[in-house]
Amino acid sequence: MKILVPIKRVVDYNVKVRVKSDNTDVDLSNLKMSINPFCEIAVEEAVRLKEAGVATEVVVVSIGEKACQEQIRTALALGADRGIQIETSEKVQPLSVAKLLHKVVEEEQPQIVLLGKQTIDGDNNQTGQMLAALAGMPQGTFASEVKVDGDKVQVTREVDGGLVTVELNLPAVVTTDLRLNEPRYASLPNIMKAKRKPIVVKTPEELGVEITTNLEVLKVESPASRSAGVMVESVDQLIEKLRNEAKVI
């Protein structure tokens, strides 16, 4: 069984971004970039499925400029077998991402597409679901457990009220939540080995996908900031303030 893992290069989760002074975008210059944390969990899960003998090959795909090969190499060092980079300098919105990935799915014919539930830059939480719709596949979103059983996969999903388990026909799309697994650290020998694993570069034109932008960003602003209030000395004073000053209890 082949697993396809789409990943994205994003600003590192430890970095707090700032809005540019001209309000056109956030300022990403000279910031540390990493593999999106949910994507890293997806890579880890795919590699575990391979180690368990369920999967035979893990293919990683990323869309972006050449720099995203760095994140593909990271995934290869974690245990993925080969990479595909879809070269573009455009900011690709989720629907176009899903269309590009759909073409890769048609070429690669994976049984499972495993990807992060959202990226920590766009926070859209759309790509996996859109890809599943375009490919006519079922979806198990926000997964905290994935069990492959013959030609089906059972996915336990983290939902607002608790947990829900669904059974999906393969091929299927699975998107990862935080508690699916804890990704490993790549060992030095594996990092060295990853340098020799193949990465194929394709273009949106070769895949026959026109990248469209249906959402125009008019401006980007900082959120209203909150300033620190007062320190209270005791529980009594806290209750007094909440009752008489804030009037919330």
């Binding site: 859209n124 999903r157 939902v159 607002d160 900082s222 909150r226 620190a228 209890i249």
Partner: protein, 308 residues
């Protein structure tokens, strides 16, 4: 303009999220139709008909929609939605699950998590964990939108819309519901609670959350947790408040033993009043708190509970 709002419900009753999505729809302006898709969901539909501003309720009552499976619901919404200018759902785990599917089937973008309506085609949404707010303009013929419900006030139940049943049964036949483990609680849900008390890693274990529950019961509050407390296994994931958990904006948010990581702040910083109780005076949570109490939570929380 014609707006289709997809109701959030558990078949038996309509969830308060729907009241808030209708509020967002009202700000866009136009004829508002609510779709209640489920199985034996008549009661939820009757409540939907009372929402102020709603002109019509469509009920799709079929076993295929009982568990809100995205494969089936996505088809139904794409099918009905092509006749509307806007399709709105809550940015809940249900809305986030099926709505992008419908958008892709309609070949339009989705605008996720809107917090403000500027014009019928222009909306504000947070990204980068709420560290930036983008104002975006859609050029799609159908605007498909999820609404961050904490950013809108509920509409009243003062209306009386007509209720129309439709004969629809979109069963994609590629997925099925196996089972669920839903948290049963007498306390209000985090999404609708006006007061929330949350615990972090400082709680040390799950049993100590009893301390917070005592306070919650006195205040009629919901109980939440930070990602650290959930990852440590103290409490289940559905209690998590934060960027990747629930986004809340209650009147009062009490953070106990929570340091205040960016991840957590993204989920609660729009609360009206924030209280922080922490023994570390350097904890970042104090920088956003209206009232800070530097104290050992194991002294302060029982005292708070006894004095309320």
């Amino acid at each position: 303009m014609t707006i289709l709002v997809i109701a959030e419900h558990d078949n038996a009753s309509l969830k308060a999220d729907t009241h808030k999505v209708v509020a967002a729809a009202t700000q866009i302006g136009g004829d508002i139709t609510v779709l209640v898709a489920g199985s034996n969901c008549g009661d939820a539909a009757q409540t939907a008909a009372k929402l102020a501003g709603v002109a019509k309720v469509i009920v799709a009552d079929n076993a295929a929609y009982e568990h809100q499976l995205a494969e089936n619901l996505g088809l139904l919404v794409a099918d009905l939605g092509k006749d509307y200018s806007h399709i709105l759902a809550a940015a809940s785990t249900t809305g986030k699950n099926f709505l992008p599917r419908s958008a892709a089937l309609l070949d339009v973008a989705q605008i996720s998590d809107i917090i403000r309506v500027d014009a019928p085609d222009t909306f504000a949404r947070p990204f980068y964990a709420g560290n930036a707010i983008a104002t975006v303009k859609s050029s799609d013929s159908i605007k498909v939108i999820t609404v961050r419900t904490s950013a809108f006030d509920s509409v009243e139940e003062t209306g009386s819309a007509e209720v129309v049943a439709i004969d629809a049964a979109h069963d994609a036949g590629i997925s099925s519901y196996v089972g669920g483990e839903m948290t049963v609680s007498e306390r209000p849900e985090l999404g609708s609670a006006s007061i929330i008390i949350s615990g972090g890693r400082g709680m040390q274990n799950g049993d100590n959350f009893k301390l917070l529950e005592d306070v919650a019961d006195k205040l009629g509050a919901g109980v939440g947790a930070s990602r650290a407390a959930v990852d440590a296994g103290f409490v289940p994931n559905d209690m998590q408040v934060g960027q990747t958990g629930k986004i809340v904006a209650p009147d009062l948010y009490i953070a106990v033993g929570i340091s205040g990581a960016i991840q957590h702040l993204a989920g609660m910083k729009d609360s009206k009043v924030i209280v922080a109780i922490n023994k570390d005076p350097e904890a970042p949570i104090f920088q956003v708190a209206d009232y800070g109490l530097e104290a050992d939570l194991f002294d302060a929380v029982p005292e708070l509970s006894s004095k309320l």
